[in-house]
């Protein structure tokens, strides 16, 4: 289970991207999301793909690993493809069965939508692959801080996301512990029929939920016992530093964003 779930895991290769200020990476991801939304033609998607692969190469993590991150969503992508095929009509008729017909425009729209999804999910994995949850959190807080006058509780939000991110692997581990114990007592998920499999997985819900609450309580107690208070002034062990590298990184994304938007207009 662990091996399959790559999202949310740091893969430290020590590349320059790993060392960037998390705020730069977060900004870049937002810009990337804009690009994915704006890229509606094959040309735009091609440009975006080249750009993505270049950026991925900078992190020294193989592209294959990024694609694996998108793998858990393959059924959702297939679903999007099928819905588009049904919904969008126009162009030439490719297949006709009775009154229903698959149009070239539908297939094209479906393929583009699915491809955009792959790009979005696999590329944004770059953020978690290259940034530790702690840094990510600090980055998020740094970005929300200027908005605090509007009433956005930056510190609370970043604390919440930080804990949530930290809990994903912890809860998976907990589920896996129970699954292993069950397998060892003769109920191996890999060897069970589908119906039994579902029953075994639902049996996990209660202990894993209870485990998560227990963990949360322990965490709260241990943070409070070490003097953590919401809103108290705190210093940083590693302050965020925005240097030239960060500016260039974001500039590359801004530029690419303009290119994609420009392609969209012409």
């Amino acid at each position: 289970m662990h091996e399959k779930l790559l999202i949310g895991r740091l893969i430290d290769t020590g590349s320059p991207v790993h060392r960037l200020d998390p705020r730069a990476k977060l900004t870049a991801m937002l810009l990337y999301a804009v690009m994915v939304v704006c890229a509606r033609s094959w040309l735009a998607l091609l440009c975006l793909m080249v750009f993505s692969v270049l950026m991925m190469a900078l992190t020294r993590i193989p592209v294959r690993t990024y694609l694996k991150a998108a793998k858990p969503l393959r059924f959702l992508m297939l679903f999007i493809l099928i819905v588009q095929c049904f919904a969008v009509k126009g162009g030439s008729v490719l297949v006709a069965v009775g009154s229903w017909h698959l149009d070239s425009a539908g297939l094209e729209a479906g393929a583009i939508a699915a491809l955009r999804m792959v790009l979005l999910v696999s590329f944004t994995a770059l953020l978690t692959f290259t940034t530790s949850p702690g840094q990510l959190n600090q980055g998020l807080e740094g970005m929300l801080k200027p908005l605090e006058w509007t009433g956005i509780p930056a510190e609370r939000l970043s604390l919440m996301t930080g804990i949530a991110l930290r809990f994903i692997p912890a809860i998976l581990d907990e589920a896996q512990t129970i699954l292993k114990a069950q397998a060892s007592r003769g109920a191996d998920l890999r060897e069970l029929p589908w119906k039994e499999k579902a029953r075994m997985l639902t049996a996990l819900l209660v202990p894993v939920t209870v485990g998560a609450f227990r963990r949360a309580e322990d965490l709260t107690a241990s943070m409070e016992s070490r003097g953590y208070r919401i809103g108290a002034p705190r210093t940083r062990y590693r302050p965020l530093v925005w240097g030239q590298g960060e500016s260039w990184f974001v500039a590359a994304f801004v530029l690419m964003c303009l290119v994609i938007v420009w392609i969209g207009f012409y």
């Binding site: 893969i11 512990t177 114990a181 397998a183 007592r185 003769g186 109920a187 202990p207």
Partner: protein, 294 residues
């Protein structure tokens, strides 16, 4: 041989960037009907080794032979259920492994999965519960209503209820109080001697298991650096600090005694009472000698 490991290596996440080698070229032969203790510092591969024994993990290199089954790297494993019926594994932190609505259901889970009739499974659950010294009144409770220690004992009972031929336990005594730990150790000793079970225990309390274990395996950085009898462990005790372990007190005492009285190749007495007996005999022999000289 109950268990045979040939050039076994295990690597976590073998095909990704997060690969981590836990075991390297381990060769071991563990005989049937013996109680084997496994020790080693944290991260030495003990838990990984145990999980290979009933097919929870499959070796990335080499072959694991358990009873009449072979789990070899790169080959499709056979159906694992028959193996798991005969090899019961108590994981580390067993208190996290209970999941059924009542303790009784949890204890019956194993036996029922391996084809026992419900009445038979219930009887086995009761027997296992008694063996672990828990009262039957707990059977109707939700596992989460039990205390930490009770949960740990219950999880061990859930494996005992399967009545496996080989019982493998990963630090079963951690977090138990000393009395419960001693009771557990003597239960394991009983199961080994009287019921002929093969027992493999990972422990951090080497001194407590020393009087009972027939064989010892010392793990260090993914390798089995020592495998032998109690006598062998006493002779090679100097190697323990190099493996991140301290020399257990009973071994220190015995070696001092050996040095003081010039004892050689004698079966070491490693429990306090055996050691006291031996000292009394040595003292009276010495007294006898003195009388002769006088």
């Amino acid at each position: 041989m109950a268990i045979q490991l040939e050039h076994v290596s295990y690597t976590y996440d073998a095909r990704s960037l997060l690969r981590q080698t836990a075991l390297q070229d381990v060769n071991l032969e563990l005989a049937e009907g013996l109680l084997t203790g496994i020790a080693g510092s944290s991260g030495s591969g003990k838990s990984t080794l145990l999980q290979l024994l009933n097919g929870i993990l499959l070796p990335t290199e080499g072959a694991v032979r358990v009873l009449d089954m072979t789990l070899a790297a790169g080959k499709k494993p056979p159906k694992l259920a028959p193996l798991r019926r005969r090899v019961g594994l108590v994981f580390q932190f067993p208190e996290q492994q209970l999941f059924a609505e009542t303790l009784e259901k949890d204890l019956m889970f194993g036996p029922v999965n391996f084809g026992a009739a419900p009445e038979d499974a219930a009887a086995r659950a009761r027997k296992a519960l008694k063996q672990m010294g828990l009262s039957e009144g707990l059977l109707s409770r939700h596992p989460l209503q039990l205390s930490g220690g009770q949960r740990r004992k219950a999880a061990i009972a859930s494996v005992l209820a399967m009545d496996p031929d080989i019982l493998v336990l990963d630090e079963p005594g951690a977090t138990l109080d000393q009395i419960s730990r001693m009771e557990l150790t003597s239960l394991l000793h009983y199961l080994c001697r009287e019921e002929g079970k093969t027992i493999i225990v990972v422990t951090h309390h080497i001194d407590e298991l020393l009087p009972y274990a027939d064989r010892w395996v010392i793990m260090h950085e993914g390798r089995a650096v020592f495998h032998g009898t109690r006598r062998g462990l006493v002779d090679e005790a100097e190697r323990l600090p190099g493996c991140g372990l301290s020399i257990p007190q009973p071994i220190r005492c015995w070696r001092e005694l050996e040095a003081a009285y010039g004892l050689q190749a004698e079966e070491p007495c490693l429990s306090p009472s055996a050691l006291a007996d031996r000292m009394v005999r040595l003292a009276s022999a010495a007294a006898g000698k003195e009388r002769v000289y006088a």
